[in-house]
C-alpha cells in the first residue's frame, strides 16, 4: 500500500499504530491522527460526495472549517453520528467511519447524474422549478425535496450517551490557544487573574503546531510551546482542549462545548460524552486566528485540491505528505512555505503558480534554490481527474488578457487565496466590522462587549506579531480589571510573515458560464450562481445568500463568505461594505443536541413536583396527570376500570359515604401583620373586616383589569393572621402579584407574606361520614356542626400532629381539610385510610374533584374562566364587597365594556336528549340553520357525566347567558348538531342541605 507518512515527522506517535475502518476497509493510522490525516497517509483523498451534484470530494482543510470531508462515525450501538468532520475526528482502535451522500458506493454514485445536468441546477432552481402546477406540490415536489434534503443519515436509535454541563466564572477567557492566545494567557495570569484558555483542537498551540521551523527566544517552537504550557499551568491557567466556544452571548456569557470521549477507545463507564460550559467572563480575548480562503476557478474542488496551509499542517503536525506531485496556485506568500516544506519532505513540486506578476523576491530565490518552477502572473483555468486530480490547466495573464494554456500533471493542487480573520464570535456580539481595503477583508471595528481581539483575528500576520499582540491584549484585559500585567516580548526566528492579494474568480480564457468554480463547497454554490442571483435582481448579500444558499451549509461559510461577497460585489459594481456581510450565528461549529440538553433527559428532563402523599397514590395504582409542575393523582382505577368507570365510582362513593383527596398542591400564603386585614381588603374583592378569627371565606382575586385571576378559601387564624389558599397553578404568581403590590403600591402597610404551600400537607375529606371519621382524631376542639360550622378554621392536634383544620367543601358534601406539617402527610393519610375502611372510604383524584365541584357549579379558574371573565360574568357578584373603598380591579369593573350588555356569562347547559355529553371547548350558536360561518355566541368550559344529576352536565360561557335561562342553544359538531337548554349552574342539592350535617 502506498504510504504518504513521513517517518519521524509530526506530532503523531509513530510507534503507536491505530486501526480503524472507512467504508468497511481497515486502515492503519497513528495515535494523534484524525480520520482525514490517517486516510491521506494511506493515499485516500476521496472522502465524500458533495450535497447537490454528488461530485467526488476530498478534504480541503485540516481543521473544523472543513466543508467536504463529512463522514458518519459509529462508536458502538446507538452511537452513530452523521456529518462528523473527518479533519476533526481523532482515530482510535475500532472506530468505524463511512462516507455519505453516495449510492451505491463512494467511487460510483448514481446521484452524480446531477453533476452532468449541472446547467439545470442553477441558483434559485427550487424556486423556479417547484412552483407550478400547484397540484404537483403534495404528490411530487415536496416528497422529492424531502428525499433530496439533508446530508447524512439521521441516527435512528436513542442516544445512550450522557451529556454534562457546568457553570464557570473566570476573569479572562481566551478563545484560541495559538501564539496570540498563549501570550494573552501569560500576560493575564501574571496579573493574578483567573484565566481560562480554550482551544477546539486536541492540543493547544495553534499555528505553532504547523510551524515547527520557528524558533522562539532561541528555542525550537515545539519545545517553547511545551515549556510555555507548563508555565501557564504553574500560573493556574485553566487550559481546556477539544473545547469549542460555540456562542458569545450578552454580557460576556460564552458557551463552550467540550468533547470528552469521542477521541477515546474505551471511555470510562458512564463518563459524559460532551460537556457544555456556561462561562461568565469579565474579559474575553478572541484569539481565533484566521482561515485560509480558496481560489475560485473551474474544477477547484476535485479530490487532491486542498488549501496550502492545510497541506502544511498535514505535513508538520501529522507527518503526512498530501501527494507525490504537487502544484501550488496562490495569491499569498504563505503557500510558498507549504511548497518548500513539502519539497523538503520529498514531494515533487511541479510549479508554484502565483497570480501576482511579481511575487516576493526572497521567495522566488528560495524556490530557485530548490529548483522549483515559478509561474508568476498566471491563472488557473481548469483541472482534470475524476476521483483525484490529474492535472491543472494554467495560463499566463498579460495586460488583463489570458494567454495560451498549459497543463501540468499533479496528484495534489494546493491553493491559497489569502486569509480571512475568524470573527464569528465577534459577530455574535453584534460588534461592527470595518472593510479593510488593503487586506481586502473585514476587520473588527466597534466593540460592544468587554472583549479584545488579538493576533490574526485582527489581521496581523506571523508568529511574532501574534505573540506580541496577544501579550498586549492580555495586559489590556488585566488593565480593564484594574490589574497590571507583565508582558514579555518574544523574539522569533524563521517566522513566516507575508502578504497577498484577493480575487474574485480567477480570470479564464474559457466560457465562465460553464465553469464549475466552487465558492461554497458544501452547498455546491459556484461563482456563476452568485452572478446569476445578482442578474435576477438580488441586491443585498442576505438575499444573494438565501437565493444561492451560499454560506448556509453546516460550515456557515467559513471558506465561502468572503469569496461570495467579493463576487457579488463585483457583479453589482459596488464596494464590499456596501453589499454587506451576512451575520454569523451560534454555534460556531455544529454542536450535538445532547450537549444542549445536558442532564435534562429521561427522568431528569424537567422538575416534577410530588406531594408527600404521591408515593401512596403510586403504590395504590393511581393514574397521574400533570398540573403545572406537579403531578397529581388523576383517578384510582380498580379491577381494570377505565377512567369513566373509576371516576363515576369515586363520585358515587364520596357522595354516599366518604371520599379522601390529596389537596397538598393547593397554594398557601400566610399573611401576618397589624395591617393584614387591610391588605386582604385591598387585594381580594371580598370584605374581610368582619370575618371573625376562626372563620373562613371564599376569596376572589382580580387583576387590575377586573378579570378573575385566582380564588380560594381563606381562613382568619387571629386578628393579624390569615391563611390563604390559592389554586395549584396560581400559587407562585399570586404571591408575586401580592408582593408586587406590597412593595410598589403599599409599602406603608405593616404586613408580610410567606409561602407555606410546602409547609403543609393537605387532606380533604368529603361525604356524609367525614365528621364521623375524623372526630376521634381531633384533640382539644369540638367539631360538632354547632361549635364548628361550615366555613370554620381552627388550630388543633390531629392524630397527634399539630394541625390546621378547615371545615370547607368543594363538593357540596360535609367536608374538612386537614393541614399537617408536610413530613406527616403520608402518615396521616394512611391513618385516615385505615380508619376510614369502616365507612368504605374512597381515595379519589383530580377528575372526580372536578366532577363533584361542577355538579355544584363551583368554577375552576383557568377552565371556566380564561382571563376575560369578571366576577359578574362568572355569577360571583356576591363575592364583591360593595361597601369597600377599593380593591384590585374595582375601577376596571366600572369600565363601559365590562358593564355592557351581551358579555359572555357563565351558565349551565343540559343537553335536550339527556344523554349526550358535550365536548369541552365546543362552540355554541343560537340558530343552527344560519349560513356558515355561523355566529358563535360562546363555548362549553366544563362537561362531565354526572351520576348525581342523572345525566351529563356542562358549564358554558354564553353571550348574555344570565338572561337566557330556559332558552335553547345549539352545539354544532362534525357529525351532528346537539340541542341544549341554558340552566343555572347548580345541578345538585341547590339548597345546600348536605352541608348542614
Amino acid at each position: 500500500m502506498t504510504t504518504f507518512r513521513v517517518p519521524g515527522r509530526g506530532r503523531v506517535l509513530h510507534n503507536r499504530p491505530v486501526s480503524f475502518t472507512f467504508d468497511g476497509m481497515t486502515y492503519q493510522g497513528l495515535e494523534g491522527d484524525t480520520v482525514a490525516s490517517a486516510l491521506i497517509a494511506n493515499g485516500v483523498q476521496l472522502m465524500g460526495r458533495s450535497f447537490k451534484y454528488h461530485r467526488p470530494r476530498g478534504p480541503m482543510a485540516a481543521g473544523s472549517e472543513e466543508p467536504n470531508a463529512l463522514i458518519g462515525t459509529r462508536r458502538g450501538k446507538g452511537r452513530f453520528e452523521p456529518n462528523t468532520r473527518a479533519t476533526v475526528q481523532e482515530i482510535w482502535n475500532g472506530l468505524e467511519t463511512n462516507s455519505q451522500n453516495k449510492y451505491p458506493s463512494l467511487k460510483f454514485d448514481v446521484g452524480a447524474i446531477n453533476d452532468r445536468a449541472y446547467m439545470l441546477f442553477s441558483a434559485g432552481f427550487y424556486y423556479k422549478t417547484f412552483m407550478w402546477p400547484r397540484s404537483f406540490w403534495d404528490k411530487y415536489y415536496e416528497p422529492f425535496i424531502r428525499a433530496a434534503a439533508g446530508l447524512g443519515v439521521s441516527p435512528s436509535e436513542p442516544d445512550p450517551d450522557n451529556y454534562a454541563s457546568r457553570y464557570l466564572h473566570t476573569d479572562v477567557l481566551i478563545i484560541g490557544a495559538g501564539p496570540a492566545g498563549l501570550a494573552s494567557a501569560r500576560a493575564a495570569a501574571t496579573a493574578g487573574l483567573r484565566v481560562t484558555l480554550v482551544d477546539e483542537n486536541s492540543e493547544p498551540g495553534g499555528t505553532l503546531l504547523s510551524e515547527p521551523q520557528a524558533s522562539l527566544d532561541g528555542t525550537p517552537a515545539w519545545d517553547w510551546l511545551s515549556a510555555e504550557l507548563d508555565a501557564l499551568t504553574d500560573l493556574d491557567v485553566r487550559i481546556m482542549t477539544r473545547t469549542t466556544a460555540i456562542g458569545y452571548y450578552h454580557q460576556n456569557m460564552i458557551a463552550l462545548c467540550q468533547k470528552l470521549t469521542d477521541h477515546q477507545e474505551k471511555p470510562a463507564e458512564g463518563a459524559p460524552r460532551e460537556r457544555m460550559w456556561r462561562v461568565r467572563a469579565k474579559q474575553v480575548i478572541l484569539a481565533q486566528g484566521a482561515l485560509e480562503k480558496p481560489l475560485v476557478f473551474d474544477g477547484n474542488d476535485r479530490p487532491g485540491v486542498m488549501l496550502a496551509g492545510s497541506a502544511q499542517t498535514y505535513l508538520n503536525r501529522y507527518g503526512v505528505r498530501v501527494g507525490n506531485k504537487a502544484v501550488i496556485v496562490t495569491s499569498h506568500d504563505s503557500a510558498w512555505y507549504a511548497a518548500f516544506d513539502l519539497a523538503s519532505a520529498g514531494t515533487q513540486i511541479e510549479a508554484i503558480v502565483d497570480t501576482r506578476p511579481t511575487p516576493n523576491a526572497d521567495l522566488i530565490k528560495e524556490a530557485a534554490a530548490r529548483g522549483i518552477t515559478v509561474l508568476p502572473g498566471h491563472t488557473a483555468t481548469g483541472t482534470s481527474g475524476r476521483l483525484r486530480i490529474k492535472s491543472v490547466r494554467v495560463n499566463k495573464v498579460e495586460n488583463g488578457k489570458v494567454l495560451n494554456a498549459r497543463n501540468i500533471s499533479c496528484d495534489s493542487l494546493l491553493i491559497c487565496g489569502g486569509w480571512t480573520p475568524t470573527l464569528h464570535l465577534f459577530s455574535h456580539t453584534k460588534g461592527s466590522l470595518k472593510w479593510d481595503d488593503e487586506s481586502q477583508t473585514f476587520l473588527p471595528d466597534r466593540i460592544t462587549e468587554e472583549c479584545q481581539i488579538a493576533g490574526a483575528g485582527r489581521g496581523l500576520w506571523g508568529i511574532a506579531s501574534a505573540l506580541n499582540d496577544g501579550a498586549v491584549m492580555g495586559a489590556a484585559a488585566a488593565k480593564a480589571l484594574g490589574k497590571s500585567a507583565t508582558t514579555q516580548t518574544v523574539t522569533v526566528a524563521n517566522d513566516r510573515p507575508g502578504t497577498g492579494e484577493s480575487h474574485t474568480e480567477l480570470p479564464t480564457d474559457l466560457d465562465p458560464g460553464k465553469a464549475r468554480a466552487f465558492v461554497d463547497y458544501q452547498n455546491d454554490v459556484t461563482a456563476k450562481d452568485l452572478r446569476l442571483a445578482v442578474r435576477e435582481g438580488m441586491r443585498s448579500i442576505e438575499h444573494v445568500k438565501r437565493y444561492t444558499t451560499n454560506g448556509m451549509a453546516t460550515d456557515q461559510g467559513k471558506m465561502s463568505n468572503i469569496n461570495g461577497l467579493n463576487i457579488a460585489a463585483d457583479a453589482l459594481g459596488k464596494k464590499q461594505p456596501e453589499v454587506g456581510l451576512t451575520t454569523f450565528r451560534p454555534p460556531y461549529t455544529p454542536t450535538s443536541f445532547g450537549a444542549f440538553a445536558g442532564y435534562h433527559k429521561g427522568e431528569h428532563f424537567e422538575v416534577t413536583r410530588k406531594t408527600p402523599i404521591d408515593s401512596w397514590a403510586e403504590e395504590n395504582g393511581a393514574v397521574f396527570e400533570p398540573v403545572s409542575l406537579w403531578r397529581r393523582a388523576w383517578y384510582f382505577p380498580k379491577d381494570g376500570e377505565d377512567m369513566d368507570a373509576a371516576v363515576r365510582r369515586e363520585c358515587r362513593e364520596t357522595r354516599k359515604s366518604l371520599g379522601m383527596f390529596d389537596a397538598s398542591t393547593l397554594g398557601k400564603i400566610e399573611v401576618v401583620g397589624p395591617d393584614a386585614v387591610e391588605f386582604m381588603n385591598r387585594m381580594y374583592t371580598n370584605p374581610w373586616t368582619k370575618l371573625a378569627p376562626g372563620r373562613t371565606r371564599y376569596g376572589l382575586l382580580l387583576g387590575d383589569d377586573g378579570f378573575i385571576r385566582d380564588d380560594g378559601v381563606i381562613g382568619r387564624l387571629s386578628d393579624d393572621r390569615f391563611h390563604i389558599t390559592t389554586t395549584t397553578g396560581g400559587a407562585a404568581r399570586v404571591l408575586n402579584m401580592m408582593e408586587d403590590y406590597l412593595q410598589t403600591e403599599w409599602p406603608d402597610l405593616k404586613v408580610w407574606l410567606t409561602s407555606t404551600t410546602e409547609q403543609w400537607s393537605t387532606i380533604a375529606l368529603n361525604g356524609p361520614n367525614a365528621r364521623n371519621l375524623i372526630e376521634p382524631f381531633v384533640e382539644g376542639l369540638d367539631i360538632s356542626d354547632a361549635a364548628f360550622p361550615h366555613m370554620s378554621i381552627a388550630e388543633c392536634t390531629f392524630a397527634g400532629f399539630p394541625a390546621r383544620l378547615f371545615r370547607v367543601s368543594f363538593t357540596g358534601e360535609l367536608g374538612f381539610e386537614i393541614n399537617v406539617p408536610a413530613r406527616h402527610g403520608r402518615a396521616l393519610w394512611e391513618k385516615l385510610f385505615d380508619a376510614g375502611q369502616k365507612y368504605d372510604i374512597c381515595p379519589y383524584g383530580t377528575e372526580t374533584m372536578h366532577v363533584l365541584r361542577a355538579e355544584k357549579g363551583f368554577i375552576i379558574v383557568g377552565q371556566d374562566t380564561d382571563g376575560t371573565v369578571t366576577p359578574y360574568d362568572a355569577g360571583a357578584g356576591w363575592a364583591i364587597g360593595k361597601n369597600k373603598p377599593d380593591f384590585v380591579g374595582m375601577r376596571a369593573l366600572n369600565r363601559p365594556d365590562l358593564t355592557a350588555e351581551g358579555r359572555k356569562q357563565l351558565v349551565g347547559l343540559l343537553t335536550e336528549d339527556g344523554t349526550s355529553k358535550l365536548e369541552e371547548g365546543a362552540q355554541i350558536v343560537l340558530d343552527p340553520n344560519q349560513p356558515i360561518p355561523m355566529k358563535m355566541v360562546g363555548h362549553v368550559t366544563s362537561s362531565y357525566h354526572s351520576d348525581a344529576a342523572g345525566r351529563p352536565i356542562a358549564l358554558a360561557l354564553v353571550e348574555g347567558g344570565h338572561g337566557k335561562t330556559g332558552d335553547t342553544v345549539y352545539i354544532p359538531m362534525p357529525d351532528r348538531t346537539i340541542k341544549a337548554t341554558i340552566t343555572g349552574t347548580t345541578f345538585y342539592d341547590p339548597e345546600g342541605a348536605r352541608l348542614k350535617l
Binding site: 457546568r166 422538575v607 401576618v672 408580610w752 407555606t756 409547609q759
Partner: protein, 183 residues
C-alpha cells in the same frame, strides 16, 4: 420523572471519592419579616443580632439567622427551641410587629462536602462561588430550582430546597457525584 426520595430520614444520599451528599436532620425553620424599626427588639427576643447585609449570617446559642432581603430573614434552630422562639417573638409582637411564620416542613437541607464540593455546585448553580465567603449564604437557583446556598467551609456547602423540588436536585447531585469521581 425523578424517583421518590424519602425526605424524612437523614442519611447519605450519594458518596464518591470526590464528594459526599447528605440529607441533613430536620431543624426548626422560620421566615421572619419585619421593618427596620423592629429589628433591635427582635434581635433581643431571639438572643442573636439580626444581620443587616443580604447574605450575611449571625449565629448564637445554636440559632442561625440569615439575612435574605431588606426585611427578610431565615431563622434556623434546633427543633426543641421552636416553641421558645415562637413565644419570645409573640411576646414582643404588640410593640414590635413582625411576621414569624414556621416553615420547618417547607424545606429540607442537603450538605455537600469533599474536595470537589465546589465543582459539584457548578453543575447547577450559576453564581460565582469564589464570591461566596465561608459563613455566608445566598438565595440562588440550582438546576433551575430556587434554593438557598450556604457556604459552611471552603469545601462544605448546604442547600436549602423546597420539599417538592428536592428530588430533582438530589438526582442531579447523585449524577454529578459519580461524574466527578470518574474524572
Amino acid at each position: 420523572m425523578t424517583a421518590h426520595v424519602d425526605l424524612n430520614m437523614a442519611r447519605t444520599l450519594a458518596k464518591s471519592s470526590a464528594v459526599s451528599v447528605e440529607l441533613l436532620p430536620s431543624v426548626a425553620r422560620f421566615s421572619l419579616r419585619a421593618g427596620t424599626g423592629e429589628q433591635t427588639a427582635l434581635s433581643k427576643a431571639l438572643g442573636v443580632a439580626l444581620p443587616t447585609k443580604i447574605g450575611q449570617c449571625t449565629r448564637k446559642n445554636k440559632i442561625e439567622v440569615l439575612c435574605l432581603g431588606p426585611d427578610e430573614w431565615t431563622v434556623l434552630a434546633p427543633e426543641d427551641q421552636a416553641v421558645k422562639i415562637t413565644d419570645a417573638c409573640e411576646a414582643i409582637y404588640a410593640k414590635a410587629p413582625h411576621s414569624l411564620t414556621e416553615v420547618s416542613d417547607r424545606e429540607i437541607a442537603i450538605q455537600i462536602t469533599g474536595a470537589k464540593a465546589t465543582d459539584l455546585m457548578t453543575i447547577g448553580c450559576p453564581r460565582d462561588l469564589d464570591l461566596l465567603p465561608v459563613g455566608e449564604a445566598r438565595r440562588t437557583i440550582f438546576d433551575g430550582v430556587s434554593a438557598v446556598l450556604w457556604r459552611d467551609g471552603s469545601d462544605e456547602y448546604r442547600l436549602d430546597l423546597w420539599r417538592s423540588f428536592a428530588p430533582h436536585v438530589i438526582s442531579l447531585l447523585e449524577t454529578g457525584c459519580a461524574e466527578l469521581a470518574a474524572e
